[in-house]
Symmetry: C2
Subunit: 438 residues, 2 copies
Amino acid sequence: MNIILLSGGSGKRLWPLSNDIRSKQFIKIFKGENGEYESMVQRVYRQIQNVVPEASVTIATSRSQVSAIRNQLGEKVHICVEPCRRDTFPAIALAAAYLRDVKGALQEEPAVVCPVDPYVDQVYFQAAARLCTLIKPGETNLALIGIEPTYPSEKYGYIMPGTQEPVSVVKAFKEKPDQKTAEQYIREGALWNGGVFAFQLGYILEKTRELTGFSTYEDLLANYESLTKISFDYAVAEKEKQIQVLRYQGQWKDLGTWNTLTEAMDEQAVGKALYNETCENIHIVNELNVPIVCMGLKNTVVAASAEGILVSDKEQSSYIKPYVDQIHQQVMFAEKSWGSFQVMDVEETSMTIKITLNPGHGMNYHSHTYRDEVWTIVSGKGKTIVDGMEQPVQPGDVITIEAGCRHTILAETELKVVEVQLGREISVHDKKKYKLDS
Amino acid sequence: MNIILLSGGSGKRLWPLSNDIRSKQFIKIFKGENGEYESMVQRVYRQIQNVVPEASVTIATSRSQVSAIRNQLGEKVHICVEPCRRDTFPAIALAAAYLRDVKGALQEEPAVVCPVDPYVDQVYFQAAARLCTLIKPGETNLALIGIEPTYPSEKYGYIMPGTQEPVSVVKAFKEKPDQKTAEQYIREGALWNGGVFAFQLGYILEKTRELTGFSTYEDLLANYESLTKISFDYAVAEKEKQIQVLRYQGQWKDLGTWNTLTEAMDEQAVGKALYNETCENIHIVNELNVPIVCMGLKNTVVAASAEGILVSDKEQSSYIKPYVDQIHQQVMFAEKSWGSFQVMDVEETSMTIKITLNPGHGMNYHSHTYRDEVWTIVSGKGKTIVDGMEQPVQPGDVITIEAGCRHTILAETELKVVEVQLGREISVHDKKKYKLDS
């Protein structure tokens, strides 16, 4: 069985922990089975492994998330990279073609598509796996999960089932309604559409050919930018007559705002935090290395990272976007394919960052036109290459790199480096990449 | 005229902006005359200069505050350093002896003693200066300010004046009362004791001889640790019969907690901050380089520094001490005689700090036994001395200092340095100082 996880775009709704380059699904705030914190994507992957260990998992995402996915899930998952964002139908089509044309999956194999960030019980993935067993070409081309609504939400699309049975034909799909209409839908037995679909790969690839004119991975990839932005619901699900819905009654939460996210937290505080007994219904998420002290707060979320600090009434936290959109600062923290970096200090003509390289990884071989750099190795072992000259490095070693000089550093063990950048025009865009002859 | 400002100890009531080594009087949060932020001590000194420009100002304080005073007030003030804390009477006695024996003041000169941290109008210092004109030996030995109470406070001592005149004899001193007693005092016309006293130097030095057996600066300094801890009120004021009180009706605030401090702030936010219109009665003080975003908060103070983050209901903020006492971390930021430093990163076997040296200043010539250091100059000009060898330095220069190596850096212009410390036992105590032969 193939599981395709759709890993959506970045956003600022969970600022300062999510930002232009870090998406919410990578924030580690849930207690995992071993007591360590895990992110949404780690939690979902762990749950899938527990329920359907034999499943082949593919994550459909953009280039910017590849590093974070590899850092958090390692090499165990396939990653299908969308050249640009084109909504869910093209993303699913590309992933299906990738599975067949790159990974050698058969046309007849079932696949289930699922968002990467629902907060659910494991039984949810049992239901998702069961969807695949419902698929019978010509009879049931598409199967999807219908979530029993817990309140008349305006945030979700609704599915009208034909019967009250656990598995039912679908009578109709309904777009996100206003609250009154939602109440009416629920009285009529409607279910939430959680975006979980099962199909045979061949079915979706045929639809893809019909709708786009392309059906191979190579063609889709090459023409991806020209594809129309359209959701899977509009393009496929709402037009399919041979479609069944499976009822799901367990836990299902969409953790898109601080308000909903903190509801799912196992603890009141993650990271260094102190709060007194006069605090009620507060949550603290602290990624900094210094403590947060809270006193006399009610219904408040406090979140701190290298990007900034949010202190918000929980309900108000849903309206954060326009405020954080006003913040224009450089990215202070990022996970990269080779590790991570954090900005420690910014001056007019210098910037100091801390670089962590994962074992076996290295930077690109590159040079800068407008800045010099000084590296001080603070821990780990590896080697540097500066203008072609290789040198082993260890803690205490200092490497000075003048502007124009080609350089890289490769980690043998986890390697930490303090990098001081010096120049009048320090910019992430001042970078030329080269091939390494080795 | 001599003004002795008593600069009290450090404390955590305004954590994270005050801590073990930074006292509240040095936090820059008030808008000064030129629009720049100033600290309490800078504000008080500016007000004194406006009202009594001819006054000679001496600050009685401990060694730990000397650097901050010099950084904020320069060389314009005298500093009388108490070898240890011994309450206000020994501090005032030492300062009086310092003025006579070190600064050559005459026994007959008047002096006025004043806490360094009241938040007042300038007229307050007019009243303080006027106190000196009331002193007539044998007739009025002591004069003090009585503040018209605005509410029945339990935090202050009370003075019972003999009359309702602007200047009156003192009938009695009363200790901090409970609220009911305070109400009774106020009905009887009592005034708050703000700790502002005037006297002739000779008067206080005679009292000092009587009470301690010492009266010269040298003797007091040498025996300071053996002196009894006693307040000036108990030791002198309450026993003096020839004493007058001058009424003061202007602004007078004791900014000892976040609640009272924020009341005196000219702006809702100091530093990088954003807040929406759903916030009410909030104050933000942000010393960090990343923004604080506040939404839907009421009656809340948010304060952030390199030491940590406080988010507190304003009233609750008075109870902060036991909570921050639980925090045991190294000092993350400090002002020193030569400039300042800030910890940027702490790892198991390394620590990265940023050092700012003031023009014309340098570190002590010193060595470390258990750590190597790497300096990268990021801005400014100066010179380093490493094992006796002098070398001019400029941005981009790197100096590596092995354990045992004697070293210092001297700033010609303001000089900023990123220092990476490397070793298994990094401690502020690992430091040997040497004399520089120059």
